[in-house]
Symmetry: C2
Subunit: 126 residues, 2 copies
């Protein structure tokens, strides 16, 4: 499952739609919240977002830090800091990736990333 998590970022960096597609569960239950975006629901919306991201000008590279894996029944999750290299140098995204085991294979069903402010606003939710 950690291998699937790494494959997600490899596909992201390579802008490889086929590999990205293979990693995700294709259902109406899947969720994706890119930093700054509204929540996308269902594989249709999510796959369209990858098409849009991969056809954009920005090529992102990630240095992953503080990667932690946990299991709870058939659900596994990874929290990881995505340290972005490229046009967004210095930006860190706090990411949560949730996986579900289907026929022995881990599939991604939720990706939620949020930009970490340089100085966390310690006095407010937003």
């Amino acid at each position: 499952m950690l291998a699937t998590n790494r494959a997600f970022y490899d596909a992201f960096e390579a802008r490889d739609l086929d590999r990205m597609s293979d990693i995700w569960e294709h259902s109406d239950r899947v969720l994706c919240t890119h930093p700054g975006w509204a929540t996308l629901r269902g594989w249709g919306q999510i796959s369209a977002s990858w098409v849009a991201l991969f056809s954009g000008a920005q090529h992102l590279q990630f240095i992953l830090t503080d990667e932690r894996v946990r299991l709870r029944g058939p659900v596994a999750w990874v929290t990881v800091d995505e340290n972005l290299i490229g046009q967004q140098t210095g930006q860190t995204v706090a990411a949560l990736n949730l996986f579900h085991r289907v026929d022995g294979e881990w599939l991604l069903w939720c990706h939620h990333g949020s930009a970490v402010a340089p100085r966390p606003p310690r006095s407010a939710e937003p």
Copy 2:
């Protein structure tokens, strides 16, 4: 479980630490990512964040929209848009709340909120 989700926001608005504490699983497995914050792990860090938030000057109120619930085995999740009223009027936070059933009771084990940009950056992850 939807009731627990509502209770979370009621406790947040009321700045009620006891009620907030009752809603969460108290373990080292729980996660909380406030918008703009790094990911907090474990009830110790998370409870400290609520103490900090509730002792701050800002009183938040939420109008919840597009609240959706799903189940996957012992895990349930709610996606909801938190529309903030107060000093952050007009700000929307895309939130994901994950619950786990323990002895017939739903407990919160993950809250991840990220600010939605007025115009989503359609060409980039961050």
